[in-house]
Every structure is written in structure tokens, then in C-alpha cells.
């Protein structure tokens, strides 16, 4: 059984790098290989120019924030955070100083005497982060660290993680299946699918220029159209709804019918079935227009987009392009 195959990744020092993909796509396996919990059957893993493949986890200058936090239940918060320093035989005064510094950084000063069981989910998450960064690893691995938190807390932690990363300057390698999270936090993103990497790029490039249908679908919604033998995708917010017969200056237009409407507060999502085949999702800001101005279900509409917003996609995935 192969979990990952033909992965070729280069992560730059100090960047916030995200491995994004559905469950079972090999992103966590890749992370575990970097940490040393799993060995690649072939290939190398270099850390700052040194091949670490085959080294056990305790001999690698990387630390991990685990999905379930993995805090030691029998130790206090302070002992948890200082654990790495203690086993590295850092002297006591230095240990205390760095421990308090790390706890302050995750905004939990004064929580040192508590046990993990006495903390909330968000606080445990911070302790797990402090316990990892206190060792000043070259690379910090984060395995879906926000997965167990509720939406509000998750959004707050996203901002905090990003600012902590800026502060400590450690390379973050972040695993998630949440595309919004990936787009918000990352410097670069690798999209994983079925044990392979589909695309590695900046969030903006990934969203605006997905190379294939999988990336287009996973990072956004699947708006794939085929016209004249060419397949392309248009992002929902780039599509305008035009009045029938209106002049479409510089826009590519298509006629269609509104097949579905989903109201989502700030925006409303429309599904439009096109006369020329296929369907598109588009969103409109709910800016408070006059009643009757918004398209209704079943209405005939003309939709249009700027030609540069249609991103050509080559194939469903790039499986065939990867060497076995």
C-alpha cells in the first residue's frame, strides 16, 4: 500500500507552508515522514541540507503540534512546556526562563501550575504550541491543530498562529483539509491528492490559476466548463449577472436559467444551468438592492465574465505527468 508517491517538495526557511488535501491524500503521512514517525521507502528528506531520513524523531530538530495536542496528563502545564528542554538537559534557570517566555507568547502566563485537564480546548492548543516552539526547532509541524476547535476560536487562532510564526521566525509546515484556513494563513500551499502533489503555489496563484480540475474544485468550487474542446474554470465571484439584452462590454457571455438559490447572509449563491451545456455557481453580495432586482428561481439570465478570469485547466489531475 502506498500512501504517498513521487513527492518532491522544497520548503523555504521561515515560510508558512501548508499541505492541503482531502483525508487520505497523503499530507499527514508526509508530515509524519518529516517528523520521523514514518520512514520513506525511497528518497531523501533533507533538513537544512542534511539528510535526516532514517533518523528517529528524537534526533531531529523538528517539533510537532499534534492533532489531539497530546499533552502529558500527569504533568502540569509548566512541566509539559519544559519537557523538551528538560530531556535536552537545559539548565534549570534557562529552562524556567524559556518556559515562561513561551507561555507568555501563547498568552497563558500564570497557567503553569494547572493540569491539562483543567484547561479549555483552545488553551490546550496553546500549551501544545508553546511546548513545541520552546525548543526553537528549525521546523514546526502542525497536524490539523485547529480541527477540534469551534469556528470562532479557530478563526482567532489562525490569526494568532500567523503572528506567532512571524515573531519566532520558525518555518511552519501546516497540515489541513480546510481550504479557507490554508488560503488565509499560508505563504505557499501544496495541494495533495491521492498520494501526489497537484500544485504548489501561493494562495493567490492557486486560487486564480488552478492547474487542473482537482485543484480548481478543492480550492474553491467546481466551476468547470468545456467550450470548443477547451476546459476552464471561472470563480463564482468573478461572474456577473446581466439584464437580458444589456451590452456586455468586453465580457464573455452565456445564456442560462437559475436552477438553485442559497441565501448565506452576506452573499447569495446561485446555480445557473447554461444553454450551451454545463452549469456555473456564482455569488452576489447582498448589498440591499430593490426588490425584484435579484434573479429568482427559474429566471432566464445572462451571465458574463472577463476573459482573463477564465483559467484553463489541464485534465482532472496531473497524475499522468508524475513519474512513477
Amino acid at each position: 500500500m502506498t500512501a504517498v508517491a513521487g513527492i518532491d517538495l522544497e520548503i523555504r526557511a521561515g515560510e508558512f507552508f501548508t499541505m492541503l488535501g482531502p483525508s487520505g491524500s497523503g499530507k499527514t503521512t508526509t508530515l509524519r515522514m518529516i517528523a520521523g514517525f514514518e520512514d520513506p521507502t525511497s528518497g531523501t528528506i533533507e533538513l537544512a541540507g542534511v539528510d535526516v531520513a532514517g533518523l528517529p524523531p528524537y534526533e531531529r530538530a523538528v517539533n510537532t503540534v499534534f492533532q489531539d495536542y497530546a499533552l502529558f496528563p500527569h504533568m502540569t502545564v509548566a512541566d509539559n512546556v519544559a519537557y523538551g528542554l528538560k530531556v535536552a538537559k537545559v539548565d534549570k534557570a534557562e529552562r524556567a526562563r524559556r518556559r515562561d517566555e513561551a507561555l507568555a507568547m501563547v498568552r497563558l502566563p500564570g497557567y503553569g501550575d494547572r493540569k491539562p485537564a483543567e484547561l479549555s480546548g483552545g488553551q490546550r492548543q496553546r500549551v501544545a504550541l508553546a511546548r513545541a516552539i520552546v525548543n526553537r526547532p528549525r521546523v514546526l509541524l502542525l497536524d490539523e491543530p485547529l480541527g477540534a476547535l469551534d469556528l470562532k476560536l479557530r478563526e482567532q487562532m489562525q490569526t494568532e498562529l500567523k503572528s506567532i510564526q512571524g515573531e519566532v521566525g520558525i518555518t511552519f509546515v501546516y497540515v489541513t483539509h480546510d481550504q479557507d484556513e490554508a488560503l488565509t494563513m499560508s505563504d505557499r500551499i501544496a495541494v495533495f491528492n491521492d498520494g501526489r502533489i497537484e500544485q504548489v503555489s501561493t494562495p493567490e496563484d492557486l486560487y486564480e490559476h488552478p492547474v487542473n480540475e482537482f485543484v480548481a474544485d478543492f480550492v474553491g468550487v467546481s466551476n468547470i466548463l468545456e467550450r470548443d474542446g477547451e476546459r476552464f474554470t471561472v470563480r463564482p465571484e468573478k461572474i456577473e449577472v446581466l439584464a437580458p439584452g444589456a451590452t456586455a462590454d468586453g465580457l464573455v457571455t452565456e445564456r442560462g436559467r437559475v436552477a438553485g438559490i442559497a441565501y448565506a447572509g452576506a452573499v447569495t449563491r446561485y446555480t445557473v444551468t447554461l444553454d450551451a451545456g454545463g452549469s456555473l455557481q456564482l455569488v452576489r453580495q447582498n448589498v440591499g438592492e430593490a426588490p425584484g432586482a435579484a434573479p429568482t428561481a427559474g429566471a432566464e439570465v445572462v451571465v458574463g465574465w472577463r476573459p482573463e478570469h477564465a483559467a484553463r485547466v489541464s485534465g482532472a489531475t496531473n497524475k499522468e505527468e508524475v513519474a512513477p
Binding site: 517528523a35 520521523g36 514517525f37 528517529p56 524523531p57 528524537y58 523538528v62 517539533n63 510537532t64 499534534f66 492533532q67 489531539d68 497530546a70 499533552l71 502529558f72 496528563p73 500527569h74 519537557y83 523538551g84 530531556v87 535536552a88 511546548r131 513545541a132 525548543n135
Partner: protein, 296 residues
């Protein structure tokens, strides 16, 4: 016309009875537990109270009849006669030795079962550990008696080395008891180790700890309460047993002494029987402090 959302019908007797219990948790629990509680309190605790009372009675040395008057004679005898002190000390020592032995043997087995073995091997090992419990206790003790006998298999195996097996002494009891109670140590330790998430072990390694450090700082402290839980079984079972010592040894233990006194001096046997109870209660107090009860 819309159909009714709520329809109230006449209720049967059974439903009315069920309705009586609905929303009354105390009544539910109370009626469920009434019979077993009565059993426990009247028969079990009752006989212990009778035992406690009997311990303060005496026996007329001439007629052998029981004198039902309060007296501390039995306890004075237990404390003052050296041979009884020696018997109590020997029994407690053996129980402690059996406990330590079982803990040392059980831990690696339980660790292998919980953290190393695959799913099928694990299931097979659980069965293997439980298997001796299917055989009668007496069969196993008599088997040990045969093995430890003068011309038994142990002496036969040791003879070429010029050694002689433990015959009839404390060592024989130690060996037999360690064998008998081993499953009672393995199972709680296995369960305790299973409860330690693998991610904690990963986290320790990830933070730079060698496997031995991980064992000492993470696995051992988290599984120690389970070892104490197992020791409650090994310790108290050894302390109270009288058949195994009788069959494999000539030495006197608490159990055998009580058994020997029953026919001639029941009040003294009752007083002696309170000794292991007191020791075990003290032991449970210590075990509770160590957090063992979360693992039983």
C-alpha cells in the same frame, strides 16, 4: 384538514407503571438495587459483623464451649505469642513478594499486548492470559504440588545442575502464588497501558526524549496506578489463601492458621481472620492515594 400532531390515548396498566418511574431517577435506581443491596448488607456485611463479634469471645479450655463474653484475650495472644507474629509477618512478606514478582513479569507482557502486538496477536494473547483461569484453582495448585514434590519435575530438571528445588517452604508458596495470580496483574496493567494514547509516546519522542526517557517519564507514571490496581488482587489473594499453602508447603500462613483453629477455637480463628482484613484495608487506603481505583 391537518392531522393531529399530538394524540393522547388511554394508557394500559404497564404504561401507567412505566409513567410512575419516568423522571424519578432515585426511584428507578432504588428499585433496581433493592434486592442486590439487601443481599450485600444482610448476608455479606452481616456475616462480617458476626465475625467481628465472635472475635471478642473466648473458649472454655476444659469443655471447649464458647463463652459469649467480651474479652481481648484473642488479640493479646495474637500480639504477644511470637509464633503468631511470625506467621503474620511471613504471610505479608510473601504477599508483597508475590506482588512484586507478578508486577515484574506482567509489565513486559502487558506492554507487548497493548503497544506492540497487532490486532490478532493481541486477541490471542488476551485469550492465552485468561486461559489458566478456566482451569480449576485446585487442579493448578495440585499440579504445582506434583511439580515441587521430592521426585517432581522441578527437582528432576535441577538435578543435573546439582541443585535442589524448594520443597515445602515459603519459596514453594511464592512460586505457586505468583503463577496463580499473574493474570490478575496482567489484565489491569494491559488495560491501563491501552488507555495511554500513542500520540503521547510520539509527542515525547518528538520533543527529543529517548525511548528509555519516554518510558520513565511518560509510560511508567501513567501506567503505575494500573500496576497498583493489579497489586490489590495479587496482594489480597495471597494474604487470604489457605489451600495453596496447605498443599505445597509445611509452613504456617495466616490462612492455614485460621483453618487449623476453626475446629477447636472459633473465636480465636475469628480474631485471626480480622488481621488480613485490617491489612487489606490499610493497603486499599494506600492504593487509593496512588490513584489505583481509576483502573479497577
Amino acid at each position: 384538514m391537518a392531522t393531529d400532531a399530538v394524540v393522547v390515548k388511554k394508557r394500559s396498566a404497564g404504561r401507567r407503571l412505566a409513567g410512575l418511574f419516568y423522571g424519578r431517577p432515585r426511584l428507578q435506581i432504588g428499585s433496581l438495587l433493592a434486592a442486590p443491596m439487601a443481599w450485600l448488607v444482610i448476608l455479606y456485611m452481616g456475616s462480617l459483623v458476626v465475625l467481628l463479634i465472635t472475635a471478642f469471645w473466648t473458649v472454655n479450655p476444659l469443655s471447649g464451649s464458647v463463652i459469649k463474653e467480651f474479652s481481648l484475650v484473642n488479640f493479646e495472644e495474637l500480639v504477644n505469642v511470637p509464633v503468631y507474629r511470625e506467621i503474620i509477618w511471613r504471610t505479608v512478606r510473601t504477599a508483597a513478594l508475590v506482588t512484586v514478582t507478578d508486577a515484574l513479569i506482567a509489565f513486559p507482557i502487558a506492554f507487548y499486548m497493548a503497544k506492540v502486538a497487532g490486532r490478532k496477536t493481541k486477541a490471542a494473547l488476551v485469550v492465552a492470559v485468561l486461559m489458566p483461569l478456566w482451569a480449576s484453582y485446585l487442579v493448578k495448585v495440585i499440579a504445582w504440588r506434583a511439580m515441587l514434590a521430592e521426585h517432581g519435575v522441578i527437582n528432576w530438571a535441577l538435578a543435573p545442575l546439582g541443585l535442589h528445588g524448594p520443597e515445602g517452604g515459603v519459596t514453594a508458596v511464592w512460586l505457586t502464588m505468583s503463577y496463580l495470580w499473574l493474570p490478575y496483574m496482567i489484565l489491569p496493567v494491559f488495560a491501563g497501558l491501552e488507555r495511554i494514547p500513542d500520540s503521547l509516546i510520539s509527542a515525547s519522542e518528538d520533543l527529543g526524549a529517548h525511548p528509555l526517557t519516554t518510558f520513565r517519564r511518560v509510560i511508567l507514571p501513567l501506567s503505575f496506578p494500573a500496576v497498583v490496581a493489579g497489586s490489590i488482587f495479587t496482594f489480597s489473594l495471597t494474604l487470604g489463601d489457605y489451600i495453596a499453602p496447605k498443599l505445597v508447603s509445611n509452613e504456617q500462613f495466616i490462612g492455614t492458621s485460621i483453618f487449623d483453629s476453626i475446629t477447636n477455637n472459633q473465636p480465636f480463628a475469628a480474631a485471626f481472620a480480622l488481621v488480613p482484613i485490617v491489612v487489606v484495608i490499610a493497603y486499599l487506603g494506600v492504593a487509593r492515594k496512588l490513584g489505583a481505583f481509576e483502573h479497577v
